[in-house]
Amino acid sequence: MTDTLAPPAAVTPDPPVPPRRRSRPYRPGQPSLVAKIVRTGLLLLGAVVTLFPFYAMVVLSFKPAGPVTFPDSLLPWPFSTEAYDQVVGAKSVLRWMWNTVIYSVVSVVGVLLFASMAGYAFAKKRFPGKEAMFWSFLAMLMVPYHVTMIPTFIIISELNGVDTYWGMIVPTLANAQAVFLMRQFIASLPDSLFEAARLDGCSEWRVYVSIVLPLIKPIMATLGVFVFLWHWNDFLWPLIVGQSLDMRTLTTGIASLQQENVPLNMLLAGSVVAFVPIFMAYLIGQRYFTEGVSTTGIKG
C-alpha cells in the first residue's frame, strides 16, 4: 500500500487588513424543499451503501462459524462470540496493542513535525531546488511498494534497526503527501502575518512555533488521525521489520493466531478488534476535518 493521504483543508484567504473576520459560509440561493428532500435521499442512499459493508463485517463476526446466507445472516441472530474469544483471549494482545500504539503515535508526531516544517518552507520560503524537490516527492509516490520494500529493509538492517521500534517507525516518516497537504494549507495563510512577525524581529523558528503551528491545528488534527489510522492498520511492514514475538503489532499478532484457512467470522473478528480503537480515534478526530475548516477562520 502506498502512503495514504489526508485531505487538505484550506483556510479561506482573508483580505490582508484587517484579517480577523469569519469567512462566510456558502449560502447563495437556498435550496427548495424538493431539492432538500432529493439531497437527503441521495445522502441516505450513499450512507447506506457506504456503511453496509461495515454492518456486515460486525454482524458476521458475531456469528458461529458456518455458511453465510443472504439475507438471513445479516440479522444479529444466532449470536456468538466464539470468534472473539479466540482473538481477545490471546495473552499477548496487550503487548500487541502497546506496540501498535507506539508505532502509530510516535509516527504521527514525527510525520506532523517534519511535514509541517517542510510544508512551511515550501509554502512560504524561497530556496534553490524547490521545484525539483517537489516534483521528485510526487514522482516517488508512483513507485510501487513491493519494489522499494526490500531495499528499504536492507537499509534498516544495515543500520541495525530490524526488530526495533525506530526501525519500524523511521521509514514511514518520509510521508510526501503529508508535506503536500501541509504546504497547501500553509500557503493560504496570509503573508502579512509573516511580514509582521519578521519586522518584529522574530527568528524563523519562533515564527514557525508561534505563528504557523497554532494556525495549522485543523490540518494537523486531520493528518494526524489519518496517519494514525494508516499505521494502525499496517500489516506488511511491521511483519517484515518486527521479527520477534515481542514486536508484533495488533495486525500481525492476530494473523499469527490464524490458520491458513481462516473462517470468515474469525477473520472479521480479528479485524473488528483491530478496528475498534482506531474507530474511537476516528470519532474523536473526525470533527476537525468534517467541519471543513472554513468555518473556523483564522484566530488571532
Binding site: 439531497r39 530556496f127 513491493h146
Partner: protein, 299 residues
C-alpha cells in the same frame, strides 16, 4: 496544487543566502528521510531491473534483458491492459462520486458532518478487510448477486466472470476511495469566495449553471490533485484484488502490480519484478503528465 504558492503578489527578488539557508534547514529533516527511505530505495529498485537478482543471490548486471523479456511477455501486455482499463474506469467514477458527495454535503445543514464522516470511513479501513467483506457481497448467494438478479442484470458471482470482474473490483475501489476525494474537493469548494456565486445568482443563473460555470472552473487545481493521486493509487491496486480474485478468472484481473508481486515474491525473480516496477512507474508518470496538460493548468 503543483503551482508555486499563490501568495498575494509574488516578490521578484531572489532569496538571500540567509533566507535560503534557514529554509533548507526546515526542509532538511524531511529531505534526509526522503532521500534515504524513498528516493534511495526507488533508485535501487530501478537499478535492480537491470540485474538478474534473486533472493539471496548476487545481482549480476544483465542490461536490457529483463526489459526485452517484458516486451515479449504476453502476460505483461495483458496485465498492462487490465491495469489501464481498471484505472480508466475507477478514477472517473471515484471522482464523480467524490464530486457528487462534496456537492451534497457542502452546506452546513444539520447532520452534514455525520454524513461526511460516514463517507470518509471506508478510506481508513484496511483494504484486506474490505476485500474479505466484498468477496462475500459479490459471491453467488451474496447481496449483490441477489440484487442484480432481482433487477434482471447478470446474477451469479461477478467475480467469477472474466468481463464483470473488473467492474466489480472498480466498485470496491470507488467505495473505498471516494471519501478522500470528497473531502479534498469539499475543502476547495469552501474556499471559493462566496461573492462569485452570489454574483452569478443575482445574474439569474440556475444552480446547475452556477456549478458549471463558477464552481467547477474554480476547482480545477483540486480536481487535478485528486485525479493524479487516484490514478497513482489505482495503478498500484493490489490488496483487494489479491484477496478477492487472485488475479483471475484467467488473468482478467491480473494487474501490473500483481505481476510484480508474483515475479518478486512467488517466483523470487526480483530483477524481472523490478523491471515490471519500472514499467509501471513510467506508465504512471506518462499519465500524470497527460493529466497535467489537460487538467492542471495553474490559475
Amino acid at each position: 496544487m503543483v503551482a508555486l504558492p499563490a501568495g498575494r503578489g509574488r516578490r521578484p527578488r531572489r532569496p538571500s543566502a540567509r533566507e535560503a539557508g534557514t529554509a533548507l534547514l526546515f526542509v532538511l529533516p524531511f529531505l534526509l528521510l526522503f532521500i534515504v527511505f524513498r528516493f534511495g530505495p526507488a533508485i535501487a529498485g530501478a537499478v535492480l531491473g537491470f540485474t538478474d537478482y534473486t533472493i539471496g543471490g548476487e545481482a549480476g548486471f544483465v542490461g536490457l534483458d529483463n526489459f526485452r523479456r517484458l516486451v515479449e511477455d504476453s502476460t505483461f501486455w495483458s496485465a498492462l491492459r487490465v491495469t489501464v482499463i481498471f484505472t480508466a474506469l475507477s478514477v472517473p467514477l471515484s471522482m464523480i462520486a467524490s464530486l457528487a458527495m462534496a456537492v451534497l454535503t457542502r452546506r452546513m445543514f444539520r447532520g452534514v458532518k455525520l454524513f461526511r464522516s460516514i463517507f470518509f470511513l471506508p478510506v481508513v479501513t484496511s483494504l484486506v478487510l474490505a476485500g474479505v467483506v466484498f468477496t462475500w457481497v459479490f459471491s453467488e448467494g451474496g447481496p449483490w448477486s441477489q440484487a442484480m438478479g432481482a433487477l434482471g442484470l447478470p446474477a451469479g458471482s461477478w467475480l467469477a466472470d472474466s468481463v464483470l470482474v473488473i467492474p466489480a473490483l472498480v466498485l470496491v475501489s470507488v467505495w473505498s476511495r471516494f471519501g478522500y476525494g470528497m473531502l479534498i474537493l469539499l475543502a476547495r469548494m469552501q474556499d471559493i469566495p462566496a461573492e462569485l456565486e452570489e454574483a452569478a445568482l443575482t445574474d439569474g443563473a440556475s444552480a446547475w449553471q452556477r456549478f458549471r460555470y463558477v464552481t467547477l472552473p474554480q476547482m480545477r487545481p483540486a480536481l487535478f490533485f485528486v485525479a493524479i493521486i487516484e490514478t497513482t493509487v489505482s495503478f498500484q491496486a493490489f490488496d483487494t484484488i489479491y484477496v478477492m480474485t487472485g488475479g483471475g478468472p484467467v488473468r482478467s484481473s491480473y494487474t501490473l502490480v500483481y505481476m510484480l508481486y508474483d515475479q518478486g515474491f512467488k517466483y523470487f525473480d526480483l530483477g524481472y519484478a523490478s523491471a515490471v516496477g519500472v514499467a509501471l512507474f513510467v506508465l504512471t508518470i506518462i499519465v500524470a503528465l497527460i493529466q497535467r496538460l489537460t487538467l492542471g493548468r495553474e490559475k
